[in-house]
C-alpha cells in the first residue's frame, strides 16, 4: 500500500524534480541565508532531491584503511577501535591516539604508518569520514549496545567491511531493513523504538 503510493508519487514527481534540479546552478545551491520564517527543511532543491533519493557523496577517506589486515591480526572491531559500540549508542571513529597504541612499535617504517605518526605529532586527528549513519531528518536514534547484546553481528548491518580496504557502504540501511530484522527477532517494532 505504502510502496504503491510512493511509486505513484515518483512517477509524476520525478521528472519535474529532475528538471528543477538541473536548472538550479551550483552557485545558487550554496546555502542562502536563513529566512526567519517558513525556512524549508532543505535550503536548496538539490539537497532536497539528494535526501529524497538517499544520495550521499561517497565518503572521501584521507588514506585507505585496511580493515581486512587488522582483522586478520585478530583485532576485533569492538575490542579496540570501536569499543564504544559495546557501551553505548555510538561506535565512534577511533582517534589517532588509538592507532598509535599499537603503531608506536608496529610497522613503524611503512609510509602510511608514518603518516599516522605525523598526524599525532602535529596534534591533528585523522579526518576519517563516517560511512554509515542517518540523516538528521530521518530522526533515527540508533543504539549499538543493545544490538550487540542481542548478538547481532557487525556484518549484518555493515556488510563485508572487514574485507574492504577503503570502507564502502554496501548495506542499504533503509527502514525496511531494520523492520524486517526486528520482526524476525521479535524485537519491538514501535515507531518510538527508533524515532524520537
Amino acid at each position: 500500500m505504502h510502496t504503491d503510493s510512493y511509486g505513484r508519487f515518483l512517477r509524476w514527481a520525478a521528472p519535474l524534480v529532475v528538471a528543477l534540479a538541473a536548472v538550479s546552478s551550483c552557485r545558487l545551491a550554496e546555502e542562502p541565508p536563513a529566512a526567519s520564517v517558513f525556512t524549508p527543511a532543505h535550503r536548496t532543491i538539490g539537497s532536497a532531491v539528494n535526501d529524497f533519493l538517499n544520495i550521499r557523496p561517497a565518503p572521501a577517506q584521507p588514506f585507505p584503511f585496511p580493515h581486512k589486515a587488522h582483522l586478520a591480526k585478530g583485532i576485533m572491531c569492538t575490542e579496540y577501535c570501536h569499543e564504544s559500540a559495546v557501551k553505548g549508542p555510538i561506535a565512534g571513529l577511533p582517534s589517532v591516539k588509538t592507532c598509535m597504541i599499537c603503531h608506536e612499535s608496529i610497522a613503524t617504517d611503512r609510509p602510511l604508518i608514518k603518516t599516522v605518526a605525523d598526524y599525532q605529532k602535529r596534534g591533528i586527528d585523522i579526518p576519517w569520514q563516517r560511512v554509515y549513519g542517518y540523516a538528521s531528518e530521518s530522526h533515527v536514534r540508533f543504539n549499538h549496545a543493545p544490538h550487540l547484546r542481542a548478538k547481532v553481528d557487525c556484518v549484518t548491518c555493515h556488510g563485508n567491511i572487514g574485507q574492504q580496504t577503503v570502507a564502502e557502504r554496501n548495506v542499504d540501511l533503509k527502514m525496511g531493513f531494520c523492520v524486517n530484522c526486528h520482526k524476525s527477532k521479535q524485537a519491538p517494532n514501535e515507531c518510538l523504538t527508533c524515532h524520537f
Binding site: A34, A35, F38, L192, H195
Partner: protein, 230 residues
C-alpha cells in the same frame, strides 16, 4: 507485563516555580523562538504552568496548573492524523513521529489541551548554544509538529538498561526531566500497570481528577486538587 506510563500532578504541592518548564526545554532541545515570533503565538513550551485568577482584590486567589501532553488513551490528536505520525504506542504513549509528519496541524486543532506545537521555521541556536543540545533527542525541523513525549529518550534508555541488567525498572528511578527537577515533588511519574507504584497510588486519590475529563479523552495524567482552608 508491559508498562503504562503515567503522571500525577499534586496541585497542593505545586508552587508555580516553573523549574519543570526550563528542565523540559533543556532536556528536549525545545527551541526558543525570540520575541517577534513569541508575539505571534509561536513560542514552544511542551510544559507550561497555567494560572487562573479567581476573585477580585483584596480576595484575589491565583491557582497554578502545570499542563503537558496528557498522553490520552482516547487521544483526539491520533485519528485526525492522515499520516499516522500521531499514533498510540503499545505502552500507551501518544507518539509523534517527526519523519511521518507533514505538518497538516490537524492534531493541534483536535487537541483540547493546546499542548501540540508547530515548527514554523527551522530552529536556530546561536553558536555555540548548540553545544548544549541533547544528542539523545531529535532536532525538529520546519513543518513538523512536536509535543511532550514523557521524555521517551529516558524511557527508552531505562528499558534498554533494564533489559541489559535483566532487572525491572524500579519505581521512581525513571523520571522525565520535569519530574526530576520539581523542587516540591508535585510531579510524580511511573507505571500505571503497577498498582503499587507511587503514581498509581496518587492516581487513586480522592483529590484526583482528569483535566477536561468530561471530553472522554482518558488522560494518563491525574491532577490532585489543591486543598484549601480559606
Amino acid at each position: 507485563m508491559a508498562h503504562r506510563w503515567g503522571m500525577a500532578v499534586d496541585l497542593d504541592r505545586c508552587t508555580g516555580c516553573e523549574a519543570c518548564v526550563t528542565a523540559c526545554r533543556a532536556e528536549n532541545n525545545v527551541p526558543t523562538v525570540g520575541a517577534a515570533q513569541a508575539a505571534t503565538g509561536r513560542a514552544i513550551h511542551w510544559m507550561r504552568v497555567e494560572r487562573y485568577w479567581e476573585g477580585e482584590f483584596p480576595d484575589a486567589r491565583l491557582k497554578f496548573r502545570p499542563v503537558l501532553c496528557q498522553q490520552c488513551d482516547a487521544a483526539p490528536c491520533e485519528p485526525v492524523c492522515p499520516t499516522y505520525a500521531s499514533h498510540h504506542t503499545e505502552e500507551g504513549l501518544n507518539a509523534q513521529v517527526y519523519n511521518r509528519c507533514i505538518g497538516t496541524r490537524y492534531c493541534a486543532n483536535a487537541c483540547p489541551y493546546n499542548v501540540r506545537f508547530f515548527n514554523f521555521f527551522n530552529p536556530i541556536w546561536d553558536k555555540p548554544l548548540h553545544l548544549q543540545l541533547n544528542p539523545d533527542v531529535s532536532i525538529r525541523e520546519v513543518g513538523v509538529m512536536e509535543k511532550c513525549t514523557f521524555c521517551v529518550q529516558r524511557i527508552s534508555a531505562a528499558e534498554i538498561q533494564a533489559k541489559a541488567d535483566n532487572t525491572p525498572i524500579t519505581d521512581g528511578d525513571l523520571k522525565p526531566a520535569c519530574v526530576q527537577s520539581c523542587p516540591a515533588t508535585a510531579l510524580v511519574f511511573g507505571d500505571l500497570n503497577d498498582s503499587e507504584s507511587a503514581v498509581s497510588r496518587l492516581s487513586r486519590s480522592s483529590r484526583g481528577s482528569k483535566l477536561l475529563g468530561d471530553l472522554g479523552t482518558q488522560p494518563k495524567v491525574t491532577y490532585l486538587a489543591r486543598q484549601s482552608q480559606a
